[in-house]
Symmetry: C2
Subunit: 430 residues, 2 copies
């Protein structure tokens, strides 16, 4: 007979909006976040956008007794912004930096400079092996014309692949962070359907927080109202997801969010709302009946991966066009570079000033270098998009095999007979 | 009672030296490699340095009946060069591109442009779940003054972390590729000791191949003899590693290498020798006594991770010095850029020609752009080195806990008492 002993796990997640010299009242807000964490004594706190290591070290020092175990994930130029504070011992950490993450020349967006990633910490919680993931995906700057959609889909794919392949030995799996996607957005459906992770907001027994679980709300002092249009009430882009295992069944007993203003404080913790989930862990000697068996239907997985593959294909076409433009830019720079050289051999009769020729030389070199660098950048982006497409096709073929029920048996597959391969729902032209 | 039914798995690995327009006799050699693979009918062939997708597609077409399942891993600017040909169905694929891989300005080495990575394919072999990894690490251009050592150590660390965390559900684990490390090099010891992977060369019952298992030999038509100094006879840098599981015990029955020249052909397959391993898979209903229990002693793991951490620390110092130089270069460019501007406001009495001023402008912009880009590059390298150091410290702490036997129990760790933490053998100053 199964013996179940419920334990509790309190998880916190917050995008701290910690861009030094840009985010408002950064120092004061970190002070407030530190106080909140210290008071609440969660088991694990997952923070995003802790862009400055100094801020992380401030929190680490402040929370040294309440959260003795920490990991700050470092990647990209600025960092990943991801930090974990834990009451339980962190045994191991692993980082996967997303292969696509915007463009370096989009300075006003700046996502490229933060090496957006998913971080994994393996934590020993009450004798259970918990795999805790923290992540932050590329922002959506325009919902109507979202030029970063293929990047976010690739990130969602890499995230789900990373979770799928690194969570196999875990008793419990928790993922928290700012996914920058609405609940029913493609990347979100892709992630949930292919990992079996369940959304605490939709699963919770009790909820206390903003309407519809919004984590970006109009009622937040720091929110720019125009960023929310056409979702005036707010949007939900921050999540805590969870998954049990054969040993442990997981249940979200309560979920809460902050609601903009903070009692006795003149401003909120961040421009995002914080999430706190209270998860019940029901151990069982034989819990196969609960398990992680909430994996969605194969047909649903098929549909969503097909949809995602179409977005990746479109991203591929766009990036190929960008690469062609970069090539033209390089050639223009090369041709223009001949101009000052030609002028050097002409009699000095033209009316160009020194500064004009100097400027011309500078412009030519800038064009040439920029063109060449952009060409390299887009070429590597194309590689990533093609790799993602190939992986999606493999998954789709595998699902197709499951669907048609003609899974190759060990002995029949070993003869390598191609006619035994399942028919893929989509094939790339070569 | 255990029931054991031995199955066989034949694995092939070759660095194909496939740099179009540079590697000698590329087309003819791919023809030969195709013939060899077709004839030998391995279960899985792991190829490296298949830099051109056209060459991959040539092999794919040629081997469509003997190896119906393939995956070509795409990353970086040129690609990863990694390809898998399999007789068995590939269910899933995953790619991890190494975070450090040389420098883009080292054009004559060129590793940076190939997105060096580890690729994983999950293959259904006779009803067993095989996790098959293929990889290629950064080359060693000078053993005496190896400026890439920290990069290769970071790659070894990322490789072992990737294998450790993605192989948990596997029945059998195989890793093949060009590690660019001698058998007793630090990165190699690190990989073996922390994954439990065993070297087929040292484990095999029978061996037929070059002396000491060398895969770069003087007796190869394409080998530059000076590259081997001081190892005139040859070096062993290509490997097939393996690991069983609780369900399957693995044994290398035979290992062979090519020996330079090929019968009836005027030249070898590549400048590397190919490896073929015949692995016996002994299934058992209760094989815990074999299992993957060959994990090296904790003290050995501790020693090797401490040694690796010292290399990473040294790499960190070197990279910080490089970043400082890049910063100085940027400022020099900025200062020099003022010169043509100043000249524009001076009376036109100096004797500089148009082309001189043009050249000056171009040089300034080049300096400024190069300095800024190098600064970004080295800053991101520093982030990677610090992240690796942190992960190594976590592992070291975890091993220390195991060594001292004071593993925190679930209930005592939950109070978060810092004094219960094991003392780390090394701590980073903050």
């Amino acid at each position: 007979m199964a013996t179940e002993r419920p334990d509790k796990l309190r998880v916190f997640s917050l995008n701290c909006w910690g861009i030094r010299f840009f985010s408002q009242l950064c120092t004061q807000r970190y002070e407030m976040i530190g106080e909140l964490l210290d008071r609440e004594q969660h088991d694990i706190a997952l923070l995003q956008e802790v862009w400055s290591e100094r801020d992380f070290l401030f929190l680490k020092k402040k929370l040294s007794s309440s959260y003795p175990h920490t990991h700050y994930f470092k990647s990209g130029v600025i960092g990943s912004g991801l930090a974990v504070f834990s009451r339980h011992r962190i045994q191991d950490a692993l980082l996967y930096q997303y292969s696509l993450n915007g463009y370096p020349y989009m300075l006003r967006h700046g996502d490229w400079f933060g090496g957006k990633a998913v971080g994994l910490v393996i934590v020993d919680i009450l004798g259970l092996k918990a795999h805790v993931y923290v992540t932050h995906l590329h922002a959506e700057y325009s919902r109507a014309q979202d030029e970063y959609l293929p990047h976010r889909i690739v990130q969602s794919w890499e995230l789900l692949q990373f979770v799928r392949h690194t969570s196999c030995g875990a008793d419990v799996v928790v993922l928290g962070g700012d996914l920058n996607m609405h609940p029913q957005d493609l990347g979100n459906r892709l992630l949930r359907s292919h990992t079996g992770l369940r959304d605490c907001y939709t699963e919770t027994d009790t909820f206390d927080g903003c309407e519809d679980g919004h984590t970006l709300i109009a009622n937040n002092h720091f929110t720019k109202k125009q960023d929310l249009i056409p979702f005036e009430k707010g949007i939900r882009i921050d999540y805590i997801l969870m998954k049990g295992s054969q040993r442990v069944n997981m249940k979200c007993e309560s979920l809460s969010t902050t609601k903009g203003s903070v009692a006795d404080k003149p401003f909120p913790y961040s421009d995002h709302e914080a999430l706190t989930a209270e998860l019940a862990l029901l151990r069982s000697e034989d819990s196969k009946q609960h398990g992680s068996g909430n994996t969605p239907a194969v047909s649903e997985q098929m549909d969503v991966v097909t949809e995602a593959c179409a977005v990746v294909k479109e991203g591929l076409c766009q990036t190929e066009a960008l690469r062609d433009k970069a090539m033209r830019l390089t050639f223009s720079g090369l041709l223009l570079l001949l101009l000052p050289l030609v002028m050097a051999f002409l009699p000095c009769s033209c009316s160009c000033s020194f500064s004009t020729v100097g400027l011309l030389g500078a412009v030519c070199i800038s064009l040439l270098l920029s063109g060449a660098l952009l060409y390299l950048l887009f070429t590597s982006h194309i590689k990533v998009l093609k790799e993602t497409e190939d992986q999606m096709m493999l998954t789709s073929n595998d699902l197709q095999t499951k669907l048609t029920g003609c899974r190759l048996s060990g002995s029949s597959s070993s003869n390598g007979s191609p006619e035994l391969q399942p028919r893929s729902p989509f094939k790339r032209e070569e």
